[in-house]
Amino acid sequence: MSARWKTVAAGAALVAGVMMLCGGEREARAEYGDVVMNNYSDAAGMRPAVFPHWFHRVRFRCKVCHSDLGIKFKAGGNEINMLKIIDGQFCGACHNGSVAWSVENCDLCHSAKPGTPTQVHDSTINLLGGAGTAPAGASAPAGKK
């Protein structure tokens, strides 16, 4: 009986350990405002890019990107691609090895799970309509120009 109890206890401990390892695996709980961009990534065999709004707003006011750099207030609405970034547009205005790390660090941006739709994570639109299903009429006007 005591051997059986030990077996059971060992099994329970194992299960608890595995649960701890797997318990964090839930869907959709990245930070509020994270933008996932998957305009071209999946098709190109890259992970989609994640833009952490919170990280950038600690370091820059909204105006820097949404006015100076002309990035529209619309997830996936800027048609950003690597060529434009290397040419110094959009992310490339800073991610050039001078203000911030440069484009060789592919995996730092392209870090989303493959297949994640373009979205603003945790946004009201996501909550209402599900990821990647922003209503057609919801497109936001450009911040500038």
């Binding site: 099994g11 006011r61 105006k63 870090s111």
Partner: protein, 419 residues
């Protein structure tokens, strides 16, 4: 605790079983049908029924080798080799494997393909979850292996039929008559996979990569990573349902689950080499003033107290915004307090051209704004509800009581728009 012991035992069984010879001989089904089915298909003499996951899981607790030994030498009502002494040991073991395989993957008995549960999960969430999450009206709860096992013993075919035609308190198609039969079946399949996942039994899904040996118990080795917390149902992004119907804040994200590190946050791929290098939000946020929703950070206060010093220009760290201190009061319908729009807090972050004229015409009375539009991401909702504080913080905008006698445009004033 009982569940844990139960799960522990079966997981241990899975581990113990791993090195055992687990190949199924081609005649295993024939051996089973001829010698075992008489009792094990019906449960005569207390025999554990094929497909009764719980009964078999208990016995597997001693390891598959013990099962082999009992089947060969007999135990209690079980005669040695099922009463057919002419069987070889290998044939008996194959029959045991056959039973365990059938029990582990009951969906396969119908010849079903490996189950893609994404569709079933969706149907479950929309149609079935109302009863099957809480166990309402006696519905077997998702992940409750014992409740499902007794129903499963009649075979998944009858479960599909019951789900489609209804049985007892279960309405046909869960009360949604427009649902295609295939969707109902998908939901049943999903619930069955949850039963296996929740009790650490070998999941049918784990067998998927090994279609060449459909009912061999070899996949148990891969069962361990599939162990999950029972009833992890995601209703919508960032909304979680607790297994306990009386749980406090049942539909809300538990405080400990906010701001997880990138590898665990659900949109980052933990396999990406860059993911582990990214900063976890919690590290950044812990020193910042708290808010109730969104990032759970009061960004405006953080900026005001210079706890963060975001640049106004990419290169010039000394550039400063031209802040305009002008409150706009919008009188709103009904009893809601009027909206006070503080230019000050907005111009600390934004340029005039971010909002004017594309989003807001800079003219009194020229902007039609509704909460519906905001929820759809227009007007204030271009930022609020996406990155600025969410719209559920009603009183941060609806800040002025009607009796204050506000008019449309007022001069500078402090205190409005606290975030």
């Amino acid at each position: 605790m009982k569940l844990l012991r139960f799960a522990g035992g079966s997981l241990l069984a899975a581990l113990v079983a791993t090195p055992a010879p687990a190949q199924e001989l081609p005649n295993a089904k024939a051996v089973y049908d001829a010698n075992c089915a008489a009792c094990h298909a019906t449960g005569i003499g207390g025999a554990p029924r094929t497909g009764d996951a719980r009964a078999w899981s208990d016995r597997l607790g001693a390891g598959i080798n013990a099962l082999y030994a009992n089947a060969i030498k007999g135990k209690r009502a079980m005669p040695p080799k099922g009463g057919n002494a002419s069987l070889t040991d290998a044939q008996v073991m194959a029959a045991v494997n056959h039973i365990v395989g059938l029990t582990a993957a009951p969906a396969r008995r119908t010849g079903a393909k490996p189950v893609d549960t994404s569709k079933g999960k969706l149907v479950y969430q929309v149609v079935c979850a109302a009863c099957h999450t809480s166990g309402l009206a006696g519905a077997p709860k998702l992940g409750d292996a014992a409740a499902w096992a007794s129903r499963l013993s009649a075979g998944p075919g009858s479960m599909y039929a019951n789900a489609i035609k209804g049985k007892g308190a279960m309405p046909p198609k869960g009360g949604n008559a427009s649902l295609p039969d295939a969707d109902v079946r998908a939901a049943v399949d999903f619930m069955l996979t949850q039963m296996r996942g929740g009790t650490a039994l070998p999941p049918a899904g784990a067998a998927a990569p090994n279609p060449a040996a459909p009912s061999a118990p070899t996949p148990v080795a891969s069962a361990a990573p599939a162990v999950s917390v029972p009833v992890a149902v995601v209703l919508a992004p960032a909304v979680y349902e607790s297994a306990d119907p009386n749980a406090f804040n049942r539909l809300m994200v538990a405080p400990g689950r906010r701001n997880p590190p990138p590898a665990e946050d659900g949109i980052h791929d933990p396999e990406s080499p860059g993911t582990a290098l990214l900063q976890a939000p919690l590290l950044s946020f812990q020193s910042l003033p708290r808010a109730n929703l969104g990032n759970y950070v009061n960004w405006v206060t953080a900026l005001g107290k210079k706890q963060i010093q975001p640049r106004w220009d990419t290169r010039d760290p000394k550039a400063e915004p031209a802040v305009m201190d002008l409150n706009i009061v919008r009188e709103v319908k009904g009893s809601m307090p009027d909206v006070v729009f503080p230019h000050k807090q907005h111009t600390e972050w934004l340029d005039c051209s971010n909002c004017h004229p594309a989003i807001f015409t800079p003219e009194k009375g020229a902007n039609q704004i509704s909460m519906a539009a905001i929820m759809l991401g227009q007007k204030c909702g271009v930022c609020h509800g996406k990155v600025a504080f969410p719209i559920s913080e009603c009183r941060l905008c609806h800040a002025r009581q009607k009796s204050a006698g506000a008019r449309t445009v007022e001069g500078p004033s402090a205190g409005a728009g606290r975030q």
